[in-house]
């Protein structure tokens, strides 16, 4: 079962590259949704069966795989934009940087004092690489929706690390964190709508009226 988990984690890493390399927002949202569904399946592969597990799996798949992408899709449609245009850093450079970060996170994870039973698996490097990819998307893109996608990828990276901590995180806290993410994305969706109405664009480089003179 664990080798299957590793294969899924490789898929997660590939999805990072898809979101790093595409300019089509709908496609990017779909990729992150698939990533969310994979993250929902993962706990089932590494933890023994329990009702707690079923609840968490259902919650993650529903939130990350369906509700959040739905909210983002609606925001994209109402703002009538399809593509990320002129990112601060080109797609090829971000892809290359993403590859470098992924390689570095494998090296870094090898140095960390992991438990022997976690040492041969991809959880820690995948987590750090996903976190870094999220950060990269957040900092290099102009459109607010791309930035939300970056935030979601970053959260996914944190979540992968959380898989190693089955017992330390009680269900109430996990559910609370998921709910916060959901409400947070909902509020971001509303803010996006207002930004597109106010600036008739979703370009964050237009958000510059507030700065020090």
């Amino acid at each position: 079962m664990v080798s299957l988990a590793d294969q899924l984690l490789v898929l997660v890493l590939l999805i990072n590259f898809i979101s790093l390399g595409t300019s089509r927002l709908i496609f990017s949202i779909r990729a992150v949704a698939v990533q969310g569904v994979i993250l929902g399946i993962l706990p089932g592969l590494i933890h023994p069966f329990s009702w707690h597990l079923i609840g968490i799996t259902a919650g993650i798949i529903a939130a990350k795989g369906f509700i959040i992408p739905l909210l983002l899709n609606r925001a994209v449609r109402s703002a009538e934009i399809k593509r990320e245009e002129e990112p601060f850093l080109g797609y090829v450079s971000t892809l290359l940087l993403g590859a470098v970060f992924t390689a570095l996170s494998f090296g870094f994870a090898g140095k960390l004092p992991l438990l022997p039973e976690h040492q041969n698996y991809l959880f820690v490097p995948a987590s750090i690489a996903t976190l870094m990819s999220g950060f990269l998307i957040l900092t290099t893109r102009r459109k607010v929706i791309s930035q939300v996608i970056g935030y979601l990828v970053l959260e996914n990276g944190i979540f992968i690390f959380g898989l190693l901590l089955a017992d330390a995180m009680p269900i109430m806290v996990e559910a609370g964190a998921l709910l916060d993410l959901l409400v947070g994305t909902f509020v971001m969706g509303i803010v996006i709508n207002h930004i597109s109405r106010e600036f008739s664009s979703l370009d964050t480089s237009r958000l510059t009226s507030l700065k020090e003179e």
């Binding site: 004092p113 976190l131 995180m169 916060d180 947070g184 106010e198 964050t204 958000l207 009226s209 020090e212």
Partner: protein, 477 residues
Amino acid sequence: MLAALIFLPLLGAAITWLIPYDRLRPKILSLFALAHMGVTIRLLAVTPPDSPEKWIHLDPLGKIVLLSTSTLFLMCSLYSIGYLYYRQERSNRVLCVGLLVCLSAASLVTISHHLGLMWVALETTTISMAPLIYFNRNARSIEATWKYLLICSVGVALALIGLYFLAYATIVARVEPSLLLDDLMRDAGKLSSGWVHAAFVFLLVGFGTKMGLAPLHTWKPDAYGEAPGLVGALLSGGLVNLAFLALLRVYQICLATKEIHFFQNALIAMGLISMLFAAVFMARQADFKRMLAYSSVEHVGIMAVALGLGGKAIFGAIFHILANGLTKGVLFLSSGNIHRSYNSKSTDHVKGALRRLPWSGGLFLAGFIAITGSPPFAPFISEFTIVSSAFIQGRTLVGALFLISLAIIFIGMALTVLPLVMGEASENSEATSYRDTVGTVGPPLVLLLLVFVLGVWIPAPLMTLLRDAAALLEVRP
């Protein structure tokens, strides 16, 4: 009783959501704030038993933050009755509901001893405040809201990975995996130092972003500048203290791991950088609300430096939670009044406020004197304790930099505040219907009186509470 602290505001939020009258909502808000204050005072007097697994536990540190938040919230909600009377052009439903949800989450932060639960509550306060920054519904406020929401969400997410690292450290150490504060402190000696260090870095960056320590403060001037005065008061006097409480919890664990120096030095460095940043940007600030935001950056810096110094300065840090929170209330509420009256926050237009608004102008001036650490107000006591502790410990450089930044900030802030309050009124300033009333002047006046009283006399029960709280953060041999 502890449950009432959380659920009473939520009940209030549900009621304010349901009623359709804009005029009635602030009154209901105040009613629930009053009830919350009552519960808080009762809890301070009679400490309730902990929850079975020690998830919920009200300790002296939590009590102080709870007291400061509840007091400030009560005054802000009373102020909202008078303030919203002038803002009848738009619905205040989201504002009132958001405030009450935030109060509930804030109370949960102060009483939770499970770091995961505390994280969830802290993130809830971030999200519930976002719509309130957007109250003015214009291009500038939406930009501020976006920056606040994204930067704080990412920051708090980084704090979550810090917590995960901490939990993983317990698993690596083969002790019972847990994120309960008491368990972590008990087992702290056995935790693997690599993971613990990584956790501290992420927690400092994460909670530091939420608190607005430089260089992670970039959202702060925008959010404080664009939010209505009472929201600014709660952000700078309430939410900042909650994030500081989260840092205090991390500090408690650090103390138990005996690797406190690393964390202390990081706190001193970030604190001093914050104070210097504030000193640079405070001067020639053309927007008086943004100036207050930099003052907030300065004061979180002061608290961080105090925490990093340890020893006697800890008392100063904890007293500063109250002193800074209440004084920020005075400043933001009175600046809200001035903003209403002139319909501008630019220092070019706003001049001679003392003549136009004797009460609000006077309160703003008194708030300025208090926040810059002049006697006889409360911030003087905390800042004096911190500086003297720095010199007693032989940290001359820290003490000197601290004093120099305070001096520059005093001058920079005076250059903005004095013309604003005392200068000649300019001819072309807009006339508005705003007049000082009991509703808009009373609450900041009460806060100022509290700041004054705390500056000359700390009641014995409060003194005991402060000492107990400081004792939790002292290095034990």
